[in-house]
């Protein structure tokens, strides 16, 4: 287990998942570990990370029984904690030894939340998989490829690029919406109603995206976020055409580099699979004979001739003739649904068909697909045309003079300046905003812990050393973050700017009167 490329690629980042209910016998501490990255780190070093985490979780519960350890800040590392499921913890350790490695803890925790939510959507809960096979082989063989595939999206060159201060005008775990004209909205509505009519007595769900933006959803908010996230990662036209960078502000650019470096992670994966296998107590081949789908594996989706998106991720059907239709779990209704994705140019339709509602499996799915082709495709064509006409391109939501992020916490929706515009900001401005966001994160956290119920109302307006205005406004569940460079020096100017923005783009949500 010497030096491998994986260690150099992942320098400074450790990521582990462990179960506090496992490995309580002497000598079996390794049993706790469900996932560890980098996998070729010596076991002693892995255990040391987990030992410290466990120690501090226990220690902090002395004083804070309701909320155990959330973060350890050391001089050279930050350890970010997230209790994904009861007693199942995810811990990410990031190094902060260089000028770019300045993190906002909440942004990192959102990464942990996101990967766990996606895992839930595809594989169900970690606990369930552990209970299915208590030796742990099953959950490990699911987690490892899943998380490695997820992390591959953060690879830039040879380095894992996690969200840093430069991403302070982004909000993970939210949905970005397309602003739709009234006319188009009516068309979309009628399409959605038609899709629902396919269901007969049961209920189908649908999600419609234009480019990387959400147009319509009939899913619950939590399922919408998950599926939207997945769609932007793997299904939208930009995700399909690898090599073209996504302008979605939540996704890292060049997919091209992922291809090159994906192998590094893959190499690491194979090392780890050996590790985990050798650790398994189950008979060899027992677990591994199962096919384990890797829904986040890059470049495995493509558009078929009929417009439906296809993948071999879920393997082929028993007969071997057609590819199996993917299924996911909906968190809200706890039902398993087939995922049918149909794409016409920039428009992606995802129809979710409950598995229980279809008696004859794939055959039934293809009936539904046929219905889409026959009835819905024309409507989609029209809608696509309309939306494309009204679409101003990737800078559509740029507001000149402003660099902003708008988050509607009640609806989990966000909108922000296009990433190309954010990069024009100086490092100082971004650092200052990142700091302010950290302060706001703490305040919000306090509100949650105190359970006060009252809504936070906060306005922070800072003139930084470089003369940029850095602004945060929280009101009625909505958050607005803003950087104004090259602005006048009085506070009044800055608040005027916010006022104007609020009136024009937020229906006056942040206006004072």
């Amino acid at each position: 287990m010497g030096m491998s490329a994986a260690t150099t690629a992942a320098e400074g980042i450790k990521f582990c998942i462990f179960d506090l209910r496992r490995g309580q016998q002497e000598g079996q501490e390794l049993d706790k570990i469900l996932f560890f990255f980098p996998a070729d780190l010596p076991f002693s070093a892995q255990l040391s990370v987990i030992g410290l985490s466990e120690g501090l979780i226990t220690f902090t519960r002395i004083f804070s029984p309701e909320a155990a350890c959330e973060v350890i800040e050391a001089e050279r590392h930050s350890h970010v904690f997230y209790e994904a499921e009861p007693d199942i913890w995810m811990v990410m350790v990031v190094e902060k030894n260089e000028s770019e490695a300045i993190w906002r803890i909440d942004a990192l925790r959102k990464v942990l939340k996101e990967v766990h939510s996606l895992f839930l959507m595809f594989h169900g809960s970690i606990r369930t998989l552990i209970e299915k096979e208590p030796a742990g082989g099953l959950i490990r063989s699911h987690l490892y490829p899943f998380i490695m595939d997820y992390l591959s999206d953060f690879l830039l060159g040879k380095k894992l690029q996690l969200p840093s201060f430069r991403d302070c005008l982004k909000e993970r775990g939210t949905v970005q919406m397309l602003t739709v004209s009234r006319e188009a909205a009516i068309e979309v509505q009628s399409l959605v109603r038609m899709l629902e009519s396919f269901a007969g007595n049961t209920q189908f769900y649908s999600l419609i995206l234009f480019q990387d933006l959400l147009v319509s959803t009939t899913l619950s908010p939590v399922d919408t976020i998950n599926l939207f996230t997945y769609a932007v990662l793997r299904l939208t036209p930009r995700a399909l055409s690898s090599g073209v960078s996504s302008w979605s502000y939540l996704r890292k650019g060049s997919t091209a580099s992922n291809v090159a470096t994906g192998s590094i992670l893959a190499q690491s994966a194979s090392v780890s699979e050996q590790n985990f296998r050798s650790r398994d107590t189950s008979p060899p081949g027992g677990v591994n004979s199962h096919h384990i789908a890797r829904p986040l594996q890059p470049d495995r989706w493509s558009k078929g001739k009929d417009g439906f998106l296809v993948t071999d991720i879920w393997g082929a059907e028993a007969s071997g003739s057609t590819l199996a239709t993917p299924t996911i779990w909906l968190q809200q209704t706890e039902e398993r649904v087939y995922v049918c994705a149909y794409q016409y140019r920039s428009l992606t339709l995802i129809l979710l068909v409950p598995v229980a509602s279809i008696l004859n499996g794939e055959q039934g799915v293809s009936v539904v697909k046929q219905q889409i082709l026959e009835n819905a495709s024309l409507k989609m064509l029209k809608i696509e045309e309309k939306l494309s006409k009204g679409w101003a391109g990737e800078n559509a939501y740029h507001v000149s003079g402003y660099r902003y992020l708008l988050v509607d916490g009640d609806r989990d929706v966000s909108r922000a300046s296009p990433p190309g515009k954010v990069t024009t900001l100086t490092k100082e401005s971004l650092l200052a905003l990142s700091k302010v966001r950290e302060e706001v994160d703490l305040e919000k956290g306090r509100m949650e812990h105190d359970n006060a119920g009252q809504e936070k109302d906060l306005e922070v307006c800072i003139r930084a050393k470089n003369n940029a205005w850095v602004i945060a406004r929280i009101t009625k569940g909505k958050e607005l973050y803003m950087v104004l460079e090259k602005a006048n020096e009085t506070v009044l100017y800055a608040s005027d700017a916010v006022e104007k923005f609020s009136n024009r783009y937020c229906n006056g949500a942040f206006s004072l009167d």
Binding site: G51, R61, I62, F63, T490
Partner: protein, 666 residues
């Protein structure tokens, strides 16, 4: 038995890095300290150390020398002086009886009440078990587990009970491991067999977790006192790098040996990974760590103060400790890592608790500036002149203070006094009752001036609140300083300085209600008190009662960068209850931390509005202004008001600041 285990293991314990800070060694010490029930006999050993007073090397004092210094001082002076030299010991007796002492109401005090129940044994047994018989320990732990069931009623909520039970079960197992390891060493008498395993990170992990679990159970299950102890909003701990408790704000530090060992384990565990732990956050709680050589300081708080403030407070606590002992106390740890420092700080609890109290009311603790008692310029000049006289005769610093406010201060030649040192010195003097009763001559150290050396402070109260401090490097200057004091006192009385001080105390400082609406005419004759004719003003202020100053101004603080001084307005309605004052104070702390970010700060301006206040902050090269307004205050008017405040401060700076005689201007 426990000492056996630690001594046999000692040799082989120093595994991975042979530095004194390696995990293994502290771990060994944890066992020792957890198992020891009696105070050990190290202090006498220290007293035997040769004293270096003869050669007069003040900078090289270790503790042994501190004591002998005191003794020598006593020999060389009259009865009065001896009395004062012995203040520390007499003081300690006074404090034990003091009802306000936190230890009397804290963990230790309440703990005694349930000593009859089986659970109280849990603490000692877990500690002892680590060093001793394994069967017993398991029994005790499971015992505790069942007791915990019976006591479940005081636990908040069912879920918590379950968790505790679970942890208890885990604890049985972990306790077991640790014990088996130690037990092997004991029974076979062949040294610590597991010394290699312990150095192995796996074992270290296990030990760390075991300790944490043990302490969890101790603090959770022993009795109700621990519940109230845990619920304290802000804990401060000082411990040695071997895990020995030195100070705890709440509870008896001796009874927190296991807890202390856990803190030590966390710090050294992270240190072993080549890092240094600064902060752990959990819900509303923050655990802040500060390592100063062999001294570890930890704060556990749910007060919503920013990390930077809490860390600054730990720095001040460390400074307060140095003020009493100097940094040469480090050498005691070099000689003997298990050195017990608590006797050295005996009786100083009240000094620390008063300092900690000041963290929630005294802006000097985070502004790093001092404040002056408002006085007419001439009055302050008169006080400064006589202080200057004595400074020329070999006094290093002459400081005249009224409570925590400076009347005047003078430093010899190039000597400069850091505001933090003044804060710590004033706290030390004001919190020690003995200084009030007689003139005193006491060794003190100014950590920012020279952390290694003792100075000698001659302290004398001129009236109830006003005291004179004369600092010197010479340990036999008592008579000289006494003479100086007599001279100073005479001059102060003759020039009415003391009565002016009394008057100023009654009048108070700047009131936001007095903020002039128009720019003030610059003729000094018009302004007997801070630019406002005092008596005619009382009626003017009437309509403002309950709403603060103009434009919703509630309070402000102005810090002059060059002078190292700040002025803060008096609290007036609606900031009139201690709770509201504390909340405003905390808001200022947050604002200060937000403005002075280490990486990118300081920012220039900040406007902040929440449900409690509108806060405005303005940082320039010359000054910093912090102002609090009604949350509904109009932004534009508030800004104008801030400008007026700055103007007002400049208009009366002769009276509110110590000008010209700044220690840094020499």
């Amino acid at each position: 038995m426990s000492s056996d285990s630690s001594s046999t293991s000692g040799g082989e314990f120093t595994n991975p890095n042979p530095s004194p800070n390696s995990t293994s060694k502290p771990l060994e010490d944890q066992f020792a300290s957890a198992a020891l029930t009696e105070p050990d006999n190290e202090p006498p050993e220290i007293q035997e150390s040769p004293n270096g007073v003869a050669n007069g090397s003040v900078g090289e004092n270790s503790h042994g020398e501190i004591e002998s210094n005191e003794r020598e001082g006593a020999v060389g002076s009259n009865l009065e002086a001896r009395q004062s030299v012995r203040w520390r010991r007499t003081n300690s007796e006074v404090e034990v009886e003091a009802p306000s002492s936190p230890s009397s109401s804290g963990y230790a005090g309440e703990r005694g009440s349930s000593s009859g129940s089986g659970s109280s044994g849990g603490f000692d047994m877990i500690g002892g078990g680590i060093g001793g018989g394994d069967d017993e320990e398991i029994q005790e732990v499971s015992n505790v587990d069942s007791i915990q069931d019976s006591q479940a009623s005081w636990m908040p909520g069912k879920r918590h009970v379950d968790e505790a039970k679970e942890r208890g079960q885990r604890g049985i197992y972990y306790g077991n491991i640790v014990m088996i390891e130690v037990g092997v060493g004991n029974r076979d008498g062949e040294g610590f067999q597991c010394s290699t395993t312990i150095s192995d990170p796996v074992m270290v992990v296990v030990v760390l977790v075991a300790l944490v679990v043990a302490v969890t159970m101790v603090t959770e299950l022993v009795d109700d006192a621990s519940l109230s102890w845990r619920k304290r909003k802000k804990h401060f701990f000082i411990l040695s790098n071997s895990g020995k408790p030195i100070y705890s704000r709440y509870g008896d530090e001796h009874k927190l040996a296991g807890f202390s060992a856990t803190l030590q384990a966390i710090i050294s565990f992270v240190e072993n990974g080549g890092d240094r732990v600064k902060l752990v956050r959990a819900g509303n709680h923050q655990v802040v760590f500060l390592v100063k050589g062999p001294i570890y300081l930890v704060c556990i708080s749910c007060t919503e103060e920013p990390y930077e403030s809490l860390r600054g407070q730990l720095e001040l606590i460390y400074g307060q400790m140095l003020l009493i002992l100097t940094k040469s106390v480090n050498r005691c740890f070099e000689k003997n890592p298990k050195f017990d420092m608590t006797p050295l700080l005996g009786g100083t609890d009240v000094v620390f608790s008063s300092l900690i109290h000041s963290f929630s009311w005294n802006p000097a603790t985070f502004l790093h500036a001092y404040t002056c008692l408002p006085l007419a310029y001439a009055t302050r000049q008169a006080a400064g002149a006589i202080l200057q006289d004595v400074a020329d005769s070999g006094v290093l610093f002459a400081i005249l203070m009224c409570k925590h406010k400076v009347i005047s201060l003078v430093g010899a030649q190039k000597a400069s006094l850091h505001p933090d040192d003044m804060l710590l010195l004033a706290n030390f003097v004001m919190s020690s009752e003995s200084f009030r009763t007689s003139e005193s001559f006491s060794p003190i150290c100014l950590p920012r001036y020279n952390p290694m050396a003792f100075l000698y402070a001659y302290v004398h109260y001129l009236d109830v609140d006003t005291y004179l401090m004369l600092l010197t490097t010479s340990s036999d200057a008592f008579y000289h300083l006494k003479d100086c004091r007599i001279r100073i006192e005479m001059v102060l009385l003759r020039s009415n300085v003391l009565s002016e001080v009394q008057r100023s105390m009654l009048d108070g400082g700047m009131h936001v209600e007095d903020l002039p609406t128009d720019p003030l005419p610059r003729s000094g004759t018009l302004s007997p008190h801070l630019g406002q004719p005092r008596d005619s003003h009382e009626s003017l202020r009437e309509p403002f009662v309950g709403i603060g100053g103009p434009a919703g101004l509630w309070h402000f603080m102005y810090r002059s960068i060059f002078l190292d001084q700040y002025v803060s307005s008096e609290f007036s309605p609606p900031i009139n209850s201690p709770r509201k004052q504390k909340r405003l104070y905390r808001a200022y702390q947050n604002l200060y931390a937000s403005m002075h970010d280490k990486g990118i700060g300081p920012h220039k301006t900040q406007f902040r509005r929440d449900e409690n206040y509108v806060l405005l902050c303005w940082v320039t090269q010359d000054f910093e202004l912090y102002a609090a307004f009604d949350p509904l205050a109009d932004k534009a008017v508030a800004i104008k008001t801030c400008n007026r405040v700055c103007q007002w401060v400049k208009d009366v700076e002769n009276e509110i600041f110590l000008l010209g005689a700044s220690p840094f201007s020499w």
